[in-house]
């Protein structure tokens, strides 16, 4: 089988090109370092099966980041037929360095100048024929986002693979690269011969927008204002969709499940309807909100606003021992902590990475958001609900800040902070559609595996041993809850909520499903039941604990694999468990002492 690798600088549309070529939906984002794992796909090009590998973005084959190491390691240990180098056409003046480096290594390569539409708009004209002659490799201009020039590029690649011979992995890759000053001259020659720049750059849209969005004093308020509006938008659009899903699930229950299970034994009916269906269904009703959430995040990410956030927040983050990129990762963590943790790979200093990874789990991720929306809707009047949610976001930031302040001396770094500020880009509908679809698939995968297992276990724990009143003190769940009572009772968390928390350790989605199963209800009946079973002080204490105590099993596993340290991973978990208990204890006992 032939093998082709995709390389390029971060933020050049590499993943978009990969998606076009494979038809698969890899995540695409306008943030340097989004592709964190090696994505591979097998595709048919011409008459050959070709294994396509999307390598992480790199600035330089000499580079010292984790991503750059990954690329070198790959090239040294894997034979390739062809390397497709993807560069940003409007930044060709310095990105051409990578193409020269591959030429020096003698690896067969094709140069794809992506975002050529943007370059054209800026008035940059590139003579690809001329460049191809001086560079000694085919050069094609294209726009991977809109597909212009794509089929020609694909044809050229197919043609090259047709006649290619696989090169073995390269030994001593760094030693083979020439000195920088030699390359500097070559770069200048190629650029001056084949690229025409406009004499003066027109005041572009980006510059005008930046004057407002990066304003020294207005920039941050505008940023948080935009975030606030996004959240309002999510709930405004999401609430009717959530109701629709609930209504649909109710219809299926009444018209399909109930008649079908009418003659089956009571326990089977209980397991299927009260256990699996109500449990998974309650979780499923949140899918529209989560999909909307990720769509909005994708828009923010793809436009390039996140890099601006890094610029605006760096001054504050540096006082916490972090940098602007850490803030962006915290924001990404609001979607899901796992990719945010992996995104820290762009950092070179281990200390900075570890400190950033330590604060990311405090990001109120979309799974925790489901729990909070659910509890808030049950316990607080609609007028107060947004304030309650907002206060939890504030707590999320506060715990992250506290953690960074406490641990910044242990993880001090002097990593320089240099980041590219890409021009603003409009995401295409296709990108958004792919992203939304991925979230639905992601949910279905989780739902079909451990959410089902989780709710079935909760059902079993609350209904066994046989013959007891369900979820009573005699059930396994009751016994288990009593064990934890000495620790959790001072926080106002009862035994039933304890069971939900135990499963929440695995994944926060199960918390909502577990509550449905424990009470054997769904929809409005469940919300009312929850409202009876606790008061608002208990509910808020429970939410604080859920926010802080631990992210989920996947996050802990990622912390471990990314840090390669058990001590660090479990230390982080121990710290968040302790902090959660402390915060909830102070809140609950304080509120009770004040007479609430």
């Amino acid at each position: 089988m032939k093998r082709m690798a995709l390389v390029g600088m971060p933020n050049t549309g590499k993943s978009t090109f990969f998606n076009r070529l494979t038809g698969a939906g890899a995540r695409v984002g306008n943030w340097p370092g989004v592709t964190v794992d090696l994505l591979g796909a097998k595709i048919l090009l011409g008459g050959h099966m070709v294994e396509l590998v999307d390598l992480p973005g790199l600035y330089d084959l000499h580079g010292f980041t984790e991503d750059e190491r990954v690329v070198r390691h790959f090239l040294e240990n894997n034979p390739v037929d062809l390397v497709a180098i993807i560069l940003n056409a409007s930044q060709i003046d310095h990105q051409i360095a990578i193409a020269l480096q591959f030429k020096q290594l003698g690896i067969p390569a094709i140069l794809l100048l992506n975002m050529s539409d943007e370059a054209e708009k800026l008035g940059i004209r590139i003579d690809t024929r001329r460049m191809s002659e001086t560079l000694g490799m085919p050069v094609m201009a294209l726009s991977a986002k809109f597909g212009k020039g794509f089929s020609e590029a694909r044809q050229a690649i197919t043609g090259m693979l047709e006649i290619s011979e696989q090169r073995p992995g390269l030994e001593d890759l760094k030693g083979k690269l020439a000195q920088d000053d030699q390359m500097e001259t070559q770069m200048r020659t190629i650029i001056s011969q084949s690229v025409q720049y406009p004499r003066m750059l027109a005041e572009s849209f980006t510059a005008r927008l930046d004057r407002l969005l990066l304003h020294p004093w207005l920039g941050l308020p505008i940023f948080f204002g935009v975030m606030y509006l996004l959240f309002q938008g999510i709930f405004l659009l999401g609430a009717p969709l959530q109701d629709a899903v609930e209504w649909l699930l109710g219809m299926i229950d009444q018209n399909v499940l109930e008649p079908f299970l009418a003659t089956s034994p009571g326990w089977l009916h209980g397991l299927v309807v009260d256990g699996i269906y109500n449990g998974v269904g309650t979780v499923a009703s949140f899918v529209p909100i989560i999909v909307l959430f990720f769509l909005f995040m994708a828009v923010i990410e793809d436009t390039g606003y996140l890099s601006r956030a890094a610029f605006l927040m760096d001054a504050l983050m540096s006082r916490l021992g972090l940098d602007g990129r850490s803030f962006v990762m915290l924001l990404m963590g609001f979607g899901c902590n796992v990719p945010a943790l992996m995104g820290t790979r762009v950092m070179r200093s281990r200390a900075l990475r570890l400190l950033t990874m330590m604060v990311i789990p405090f990001s109120l991720c979309s799974a925790r958001l489901q729990v909070f929306i659910f509890i808030t809707a049950a316990l607080f009047p609609p007028k107060h609900a947004p304030l309650v949610l907002f206060s939890l976001y504030l707590m999320s930031f506060a715990t992250a800040i506290l953690t960074a302040l406490l641990f910044k001396r242990k993880f001090t770094s002097i990593e320089p902070f240099v980041l590219e500020l890409p021009p603003y880009r409009l995401p295409t509908l296709m990108q958004l559609w792919l992203r939304g679809w991925q979230e639905v698939m992601h949910f279905l995968r989780r739902a079909s595996t451990f959410i089902v297992i989780g709710v079935v276990l909760v059902w079993a724990l609350t209904h066994l041993p046989p013959g007891i009143p369900e979820a009573s003190a005699q059930s396994f769940a009751g016994i288990l809850g009593n064990w934890f009572a000495p620790v959790l009772a001072p926080l106002g968390i009862d035994t039933q909520m304890t069971i939900a928390l135990l499963f929440g350790f695995v994944a926060k989605e199960i918390v909502v499903g577990a509550l449905a199963v424990i009470h054997g209800m769904e929809g409005n009946a469940l919300t009312q039941q929850i409202a009876i079973s606790m008061d608002w002080v208990q509910a808020y204490s429970f939410m604080l604990f859920t926010l802080i105590y631990t992210p989920c099993l996947s996050t802990i596993a990622t912390l471990r694999s990314e840090s390669r340290s058990n001590l660090y991973a479990w230390g982080t978990v121990a710290w968040s468990l302790g902090l959660a208990w402390g915060v909830s204890f102070v809140f609950y006992q304080g509120a009770r002492a004040l007479g609430y």
């Binding site: 010292f64 003046d93 310095h94 902070f417 980041l419």
Partner: protein, 86 residues
């Protein structure tokens, strides 16, 4: 040849030519790969509040970097410090 000054001292809208990068090898290569090469014109676009990072333009690329790091980039102001940077 005029004297070189740290990039951090340039005000928004001012230009200079990169003269020297006083950084370790790892950062040198990173900066070079991002377009900060000796001999290239550079222009400061804006500075963030609270001693935050500065935004610079090299060629057609915009970069943000901390003022502390910009102290280690030496630049010489061009003869007439006007709007020519291409």
């Amino acid at each position: 040849m005029s004297q070189s000054i740290p990039l951090a001292e340039l005000k928004p809208g001012q230009n200079g030519i990169i003269a020297r990068l006083k950084v370790d090898e790892a950062l040198y290569q990173r900066l070079t790969a991002m377009g900060l090469r000796i001999g290239r014109p550079i222009r400061v676009i804006r500075r963030a509040a609270l001693s935050g990072p500065i935004q610079v333009r090299v060629g057609l690329t915009d970069l943000i970097l901390r003022r502390a790091d910009a102290l280690n980039i030496c630049i010489t102001p061009p003869p007439n410090n006007t709007d020519c940077y291409t």
